[in-house]
Amino acid sequence: MESFRKIYSSEFHKKFLAHNVRPDGRSLDDARNTKISVNSFGSSNGSAFVRIGNTHGSQKLGGGGGDGTSVTCAIVAEVGPPTDATPNGQIIVNVEMTPICSSRFRTGKPTEEAQALGHWLNELVRSPHHLSLEDMKVKMTRHEAVEDDEEEDSLPGMVWYLYADVYCINHDGSIGDAALIALFSAIQNVRLPQLVVTKENQMIAMPIDASSGRINILHHLVPTTFAIIDEQVLVDPSAEEEELSSGLLTIVTRSDGSLVTIRKSGGTSLDDEKLKQCMKTAAERCKTVEKEIKSQR
């Protein structure tokens, strides 16, 4: 059975899809469960770990996949001067698809897939419609009161630059969904510390307390990926299904119900009716995932 699945992957899946069911037991419009846990990494300013599928964490001996996608995102805050383009600082997203997550990747420069995904996330996160960066001014004080009055006001106005690094741990399809959910969950949990400047002009971050700043998220974004296999549309595909599909469709919706972006790749066309159905499914999934993200604050 396992060897039939590996060698005649397409035949194997078609036998299931003919009966509107998938090898892992899901129906075609059934998304996997999403589980989020936040602030696992104390060395960062905010972090999130997202798992799509296999959320009960059962073990499976290696090979073959079907184990669920997992992605972690952690944010490190650094200080820099504001520029004309970034008067309130910036969030800088990078995606690392390390060889640990799939046999498709090797060490070395990031794959095109990782670079493209990183660019897409950067565009979403920098849009002023979803996030408000107005609270990103750095709060600084002198460590010891300086006797010289002239030096009192010498602290320059600085802003935060947040490096958000998305590490892919297990690549089992819909990696963009997991990455975006992880990114927003991490941003939601970022705490920006108060800074103290010493006599040697070193900046020191104070421990997090009630006065530490947060980032104001106006709307949560929830993506849903669909795979198109022979006129059939599969919600939240696994890595195997992605490989077989002739095209992928990603719909990002916002918590207020509006549509943020649609990205469709591949040469096959999709008729009106099906696209509308997909948008409906995406809007429904948005509600459940958003609830999960907000519960992790």
């Binding site: 060395s43 805050a77 060889p99 640990i100 420069k109 630059y161 490096y163 103290v196 900046m203």
Partner: protein
């Protein structure tokens, strides 16, 4: 500088040079790193958590947590050597990497492996190679990828233990599992302590009147054999001849 440019070319960067504020233990008069005070006994490990089989795509995988230190390891292979060269036994390749956000007491790590990470990769190969029956897998390569998601001391010994578990999970034939541990020599009182944290490691390596340093040992418990010893800092002779 050239390496920096290659690193930047494929990634998004801030428009200006940015600085990471220092950890609050660097504040003058801070009591956060107090070597005299330790909340566990000198021969006591921190709390452990281990789990295998967490990366479905890999042939074997393991996750290890020692208090705040979090390490994940994935094994791919045995698979074909890419360049089709012939070898009578398998080659073990280790790739050790800190996540950029792994450490709180220093600047962010780079995306590409720095020299310390390359050294750790090499040390891992040395520690694990002799535990595996590599002759069973001719013409193949076993890839071992390690990411340290958070480092609070004991990154190398954790990585070795974690990788050995993952190799067993992948079903690679071996003589024995390798368990690694680290000890630190406290420069204040010359005491030897088990499983130092990151803050302690930094202070121990600075040294003092009574020496100071960290030793990592890879050990096969079933065979009672040591696969590797790695020491940094300075440890006086009489401490070695205990």
């Amino acid at each position: 500088m050239a390496a920096r440019r290659v690193e930047e070319r494929y990634r998004s960067n801030a428009p200006v040079t940015t600085v990471r504020p220092l950890h609050h233990s660097f504040l003058p008069g801070s009591q956060a790193t107090n070597l005299a005070k330790r909340d566990r006994k000198r021969n006591e490990f921190r709390q452990f958590f281990m789990k295998t089989g967490i990366i479905g795509q890999a042939s074997g995988s393991a996750y290890l947590e020692m208090a705040n230190t979090k390490i994940i390891c994935g094994i791919y292979g045995p698979r074909q050597i890419p360049k089709m060269e012939f070898s009578e036994k398998a080659k073990l390749q280790c790739d050790f990497k800190f996540a950029t956000f792994a450490e709180s007491r220093r600047e962010r790590r780079k995306y590409t492996a720095d020299k310390e990470e390359k050294e750790f990769s090499m040390l891992m190969v040395q520690a694990l190679e002799s535990s595996l029956i590599l002759e069973k897998y001719p013409k193949s390569v076993i890839d071992c990828y390690v990411i340290v998601l958070e480092n609070d001391g004991g990154a190398l010994n954790g990585a070795i233990t974690c990788a050995s578990m993952a190799l067993a999970n992948a079903g690679i034939e071996m003589y024995d599992l390798v368990a690694a541990a680290s000890i630190g020599l406290n420069p204040l009182n010359g005491e030897i302590l088990l499983d130092p944290t990151e803050a302690e490691e930094i202070e121990y390596k600075k040294g003092g009147k009574k020496g100071g340093g960290v030793v990592t040992i890879g050990f096969m418990p079933g065979m009672n054999e040591i696969t590797q010893i790695w020491q940094s800092g300075q440890i006086p002779q009489e401490k070695w001849l205990l």
